[in-house]
Amino acid sequence: MNLDPILQRADVWRGNRFPARVEAVSSGFGELDEHLPGGGWPRGALSEILMAQHGIGALRLLTPALARLSQDDKRWICWVAPPYIPYAPALVDAGIDLSRVLLVHPRAQQDGLWAVEQSLRSGTCSAVLAWPTIDDSTAMRRLQLAAEAGSALGFLFRPRRLAQRPSPAALRVQLEPEPGNGLSVTILKRRGGWACGPPIHLDVPVQQHGRAMALHSYSATAPGNFQSQWQ
């Protein structure tokens, strides 16, 4: 029996494949991209980054993608209520165009969520970074919808203890430090794919030499291949 005609059918879904159209932005880490639907951080969706402590490289995991967005996309990269001051010289070193960086410092928690939602929804932000500490699934769903509406990459950095809580985010990863410059990334959830078990080990050196690194990692995927090899 020939399976091909059946596999061609639109209503047959193959479990070992990511859905055909996940728009994503390469993370700059090839090994991670391989495990992400669309080959990178999903666009128009929330990505949740769960971690127990600062200082293990959560931002360094994002800087290659942010650098690329700041240079190609030209929309704002909006940081809502960052826990510390994003240090301008380090951002420049990482290849991020500072003229695309927008910092929002709301006074109240509620204003913070509002600002994240507005930024995601506006369509004028390529990425929105936020550090919400509340555990409110309604609010999270609103943010997910806003990210879809504004075609933005929403990155939420949240405490690891929330890993067990359900979340509407399209992607959830948990970070753990490893000896040296290592970072282990466990994918807890990815839309359009099974959660994958073994952690991915990445090297996120403190000294990034952003531009050089960005060039290197982007040459690995040809420009036309920006969105995904799975499309």
Binding site: I56, L91, V92, S99, D111, S122, E176, V206
Partner: protein, 439 residues
Amino acid sequence: MLLCNTPAHSRGICAGMPVAAARALLQDLIVYPRDYAAEHKALQSLAAWAYQFSSQVSLYPPFALLLEVRGSLTLFGGYAALFQRIHDGLEALGYASRMADAPTPLAAYSLACCNHEQQVTGKSRLPAVLGPLPLSVLDWDQTLLDRLHGMGVRRLADLLRLPRDGLARRLGADSLLYLDRLLGRCADPQTLYQPPRRFRHRLQLPAEVEQAGALLFALQRLVLELCGWLQGQGAAIQELDIRLWHREQKQTRLKIGVHRKSRDAQQFIALLRERLERLQLAQAVIEVELRADHLLALDAQSLDMFGEKREQGQIDLLDRLRARLGDAAVRGLSTVAEHRPEYAWSYSEPGDSQQLAHDRQRPLWLLPVPRQLKTQDNWPCLQGRLELRHSRERIESGWWDEQDIARDYFVARNPSGSCYWIYRELTGDRRWFLQGIFE
């Protein structure tokens, strides 16, 4: 009684009734004396607003405006479209309106007065169209009208049928001239309205307002007037200057800025709504005022930029965030050419950044103020003993402004795997500090 509202009308009150008779019908009737000065002011602000539709606007007190629209028809997409726009605009401002289009100012005025909202294109049709109108549309002396009435003249058609020399004798030269102007037999030059060079409109509130949100309705009206006026001026603004007037001439000032110059009323209203939602009034407001003193030219090129690429009413994210959170809550980042790490950056206007490359190890997070580290056996600790991972970097600088520093910087890692940027003072107590986090 000149006018009454719907509830009063439903109880039998109507215009033209003596006040005493009306009071007899409805004891709790509230009667306001007619305020000619306020009417004139309203007419003037409407003229300023109407200037966007025609550069030839004249006041025809007490309640009419004349607009020369021939030249505007193409620009606004024809008669029907233009009338609809004016009608909707007036409605949004809270006015009821009647309009008529005719080849002479007096004919248009007369038709509008009689609620004949129609378009008369040629002068030759004027006698036929105006004929059925009652004599009362003529802006004439009441005794003259009474005399005509006594002569059996009821309608304009009756009047126009009378021989011209007889009319001149009975009515006088002025009235004959009026009729000639009405029918377009002779020119009727108007005094053109000159819009003011700046916008300052004040609106008295019908009642004291204590909730800021309730101010939106009145302010919205002023914003619509302002944007109409800006349109006529071919100008735009970058800031709404609002004054909320309290008793005893006290005022609260509100400024609402936009990133890019604009005259889009919907955009301003949305920002205003955002701001009013969060505003706590210390005192009740009795009047609101809107000012625009600094006009910015909005040339055809920037119009394209605004009109085409941006939809009406769409608000820049920046403006929306600032309207709610305040200007200082929304900023950009810049590098500063400075050796001392804490001065090597600054906040900036979003989009306006200096970007100096740096090739040393710098953390992505900086602490607002360096934090002194605990030590154990003279060794720095942060949730455990820190392991210093890279060679030190010595930074000595700033002797010229007495904020000099002399420090040795290290990348350090604690037992649970977090990386920090720490330094040791080279002077004094040689204390250890945490200044950044390698996130």
